[in-house]
Amino acid sequence: MNEFGRILLVEDDAKDVDLTLNALAEYNLANEVVVVHDGEEALDYLNRRGNFRTRPRENPAVLLLDLKLPKVDGLEVLRHIRESDALRLIPVVVLTSSREERDMVASYTLGVNAYVVKPVNFHEFVNAIKELGVFWAVINEPPPGSMPKRG
């Protein structure tokens, strides 16, 4: 796992991390991914605090954010990003098990860029992750100040 990548995956469930990386690996995107396991770690990474004091100045090209997280939950992380001058331009994709309407409304209200419900069916899941990765990390032009593509 690369310490500094263009995709920041915020996910507490190891199996989901495994499956997500598995899916991204099919398009050779796995090594573009940095994984943090709770909201606090995510904020530390973004704000270059704690263990992440030495990370490059550039922001990730996209943030894949789970909502149910230990310590600081996903919506709080999203709110913090949108309220911070340094972070507010980062594209954020919510990636969650839940189809709950109130989560969707809250996320879009806070300015999320996309909301994806993880399909139960693995094929569909892999396809969804692959398309997300390709779109946000490859096709989409990230805002200025984001990490450049490798090579």
């Binding site: 469930d13 199996k15 989901d16 499956l19 598995n22 909502l67 149910k68 969650t96 098990s97 839940s98 189809r99 709950e100 309407e101 993880k118 399909p119 139960v120 069916n121 693995f122 094929h123 899941f125």
Partner: protein, 631 residues
């Protein structure tokens, strides 16, 4: 007794005679002779006239003696010559005649005088006897007569009064100019009127005065006789009476006025009292010391005491009043603003505690001092109890609501948790099963491959179950967004969606007249979709499928929508189970499904104020109905 006047008369007679003799002698010296007889006769006449019989005799005697002694020969002797006797006789006779005439004349004169004196005395007495004050005054005002009544009335004696000017003496005050009065007196001979006069001692009098004019024999006005009656007392009495009358009149007016006022007040009080009697409120008046002075019928009915029992009792002691605030505060407010309102607890005659909504009004006397309090009491005991009951009910409802809200929150949290946490491991099972299927395909035999397929299948099915269940629970929790919805449009929309999944089947959709209703469009769409999907599912064995959607109106103002199919139907014995969650009348192998569709329909319809039911028979098709209120 011989009076000195009489002796004087005799002396004068003698002196007269002597004077006559002396005069004669004196005359003889100058040549006049024989004057003795006429002179002595003259003296005789005078003596008789003034002195009467006695002095006359003395004068004759003295005369004869004088003549005999001095004037007849021989002189200076009383001897009378014979020749002279005749002379003396004639002389005596002549003297006697003269004396007799004089005496007679004197007698008549005396009698006349006596008669007049008597008459005058009698008159004077009469005038003196009367109590009227009578006086006579000349036209110049000088008083000539003053009777005893005048003395008594005015205080001056006749001696003091006579000769004085009457008007100046008594400071007469005339009612009108004196000229007018005199004018009337001269014209008519009399005048009457009231005069003010002042007594000798200064006291002022009022007299009723009558004047009579006296004329002399030439008909000239000579004197005025004034008769005065003292009417000072009468006038004073009259004045007092007049004043009394005036006072009386005034007082009468006042009394009449106050009588009128009293009558008005009595009428008003009666009217008020009657009105107060009519009131159902317990109304009573208590004096400032608390003594009850009025007690109406309402008070009697609510508290039990009759007016006779209650009046003159102290309100506090009678009613055991319980105040909401301290009594001083209540009193203070009453004195400040003149009224007080609040709730009191009074104890009735039978011991029952009565809660009153009470209104007090302060009454003040003319001096502004508080005199009484009018209390109007409305029995609110029942209302208070009802209020308490309602409050208790409200509390219950509130508590129930809180409980329900809490349990709803729990449910929501539960559903949220299911949505997140239950799906994740499920996804993992499915994902790793598929990874296994893919990567271990070469090492797995057919049986193991089927196991893995079943794993994947079950995980997928459980995912569907969870999704349906969450959707179902969302319907109960979600807020409805009510708009006017055309069920006809909705039905056509759903049918269009369904037609994609009916490839190869012969399905005849019949959409009849459908109403517009008020409701949440997405929920109603879901209900309709579930019913149509249901119909499509259970008609699958039919070569030709017919699904009819229709509606009718009920007399009670509802729309009833029906979905009829020609499918496999159901046994009416199990109709109750149709709308239950996870209740299925067919095995999953025959007809796939989670058993939540109809439960969802029922929940949506219920939330719209309607109900859902079904009719059917095994192999004879089924009809599902739902009702919705008319907009």
């Amino acid at each position: 007794m011989i009076s000195p006047r009489r002796i004087l008369m005799y002396a004068l007679a003698l002196v007269g005679v002597a004077s006559a003799v002396a005069l004669t002698l004196a005359a003889e010296l100058v040549g006049f002779r024989k004057l003795e007889v006429p002179l002595i006769l003259f003296v005789l006449a005078a003596a008789v006239w003034y002195g009467g019989f006695g002095p006359g005799i003395v004068a004759i005697a003295a005369g004869i003696a004088s003549i005999a002694y001095l004037f007849t020969e021989p002189r200076f002797s009383f001897y009378i010559d014979r020749a002279d006797v005749g002379y003396f006789v004639v002389f005596v006779l002549f003297a006697a005649l003269i004396g007799w005439f004089a005496l007679r004349r004197r007698r008549i004169e005396q009698e006349l005088r006596n008669a007049r004196d008597e008459l005058e005395a009698r008159h004077a007495n009469l005038l003196d006897v009367t109590h009227d004050a009578i006086f006579v005054r000349g036209f110049d005002g000088g008083i000539t007569y003053w009777n005893r009544g005048a003395q008594e009335l005015f205080g001056w004696t006749p001696v003091q009064a006579v000769g004085r000017n009457a008007n100046e003496l008594m400071l007469t005050v005339f009612p009108r100019p004196i000229e007018d009065i005199l004018d009337e007196l001269l014209r008519t001979g009399r005048w009457e009127g009231e005069l003010g006069k002042t007594r000798a001692d200064g006291r002022e009098l009022v007299v009723a005065s009558r004047w009579s004019l006296q004329r002399d024999h030439h008909q000239q006005a000579a004197a005025i006789l004034e008769t005065n009656n003292d009417i000072t007392e009468r006038k004073a009495a009259e004045a007092r009476i007049r004043k009394l009358n005036a006072d009386l009149e005034l007082r009468t007016h006042e009394l009449e006025a106050s009588n009128d006022e009293l009558a008005a007040e009595v009428a008003m009080r009666l009217r008020y009292a009657n009105l107060l009697e009519l009131a159902n409120d317990a109304i009573f008046v208590r004096a400032w010391d608390g003594t009850i002075t009025y007690w109406n019928r309402g008070a009697q009915e609510l508290l039990g005491w009759t007016p006779e029992q209650a009046c003159s009792q102290k309100a506090q002691e009678l009613l055991h009043t319980v105040f909401p605030a301290s009594r001083d505060e209540v009193q203070q407010e009453l004195l400040c603003v003149g009224r007080w309102e609040g709730e009191l607890i009074q104890t009735a005659a039978n011991g029952r505690q009565v809660i009153f909504a009470t209104r007090w009004s302060l009454q003040c006397d003319a001096a502004g001092q508080p005199s009484a309090v009018l209390e109007a009491n409305d029995d609110i005991t029942e209302r208070k109890r009802a209020e308490e009951r309602i409050q208790k009910l409200n509390l219950d409802v509130e508590r129930r609501t809180l409980e329900l809200e809490a349990s709803n929150k729990e449910l929501e949290a539960f559903a949220y948790s299911v949505s997140h946490d239950l799906r994740a491991p499920l996804r993992h099972v499915a994902a790793y099963s598929e990874l296994l299927q893919k990567q271990a395909a070469s090492v797995l035999d057919e049986r193991c491959k089927r196991y893995v397929e079943n794993l994947v299948d079950s995980a997928k099915k459980m995912g569907m179950l969870i999704d349906d269940l969450l959707a179902f629970s969302r319907i109960g929790r979600a807020e409805t967004r009510t708009t006017l919805v055309s069920l006809a449009d909705l039905a056509r929309e759903v049918v269009r969606d369904m037609e994609r999944e009916t490839d190869g089947r012969d399905v005849e959709w019949r959409i009849g007249e459908l109403p517009e209703v008020h409701g949440d469009r997405s929920m109603l769409r879901l209900a309709l979709a579930n019913l149509l999907a249901n119909a499509l599912k259970f008609t699958r064995p039919r070569a030709q499928t017919r699904i009819e959607i229709g509606s009718r109106e009920t007399p009670s103002g509802e729309f009833v929508v029906s979905v009829r199919d020609n499918g496999v139907g159901f046994d009416m014995r199990y109709v109750d189970k149709l709308f239950g969650v996870f209740q299925r009348l067919h095995s999953g192998e025959t007809f796939e499904g989670t058993g939540i569709g109809l439960a969802t329909v029922q929940r949506i319809v219920t939330r719209h104020g309607g109900r859902a039911w079904a009719e059917g028979a095994v192999d004879a098709g089924a009809t599902f109905y739902f009702s919705l209120p008319k907009p």
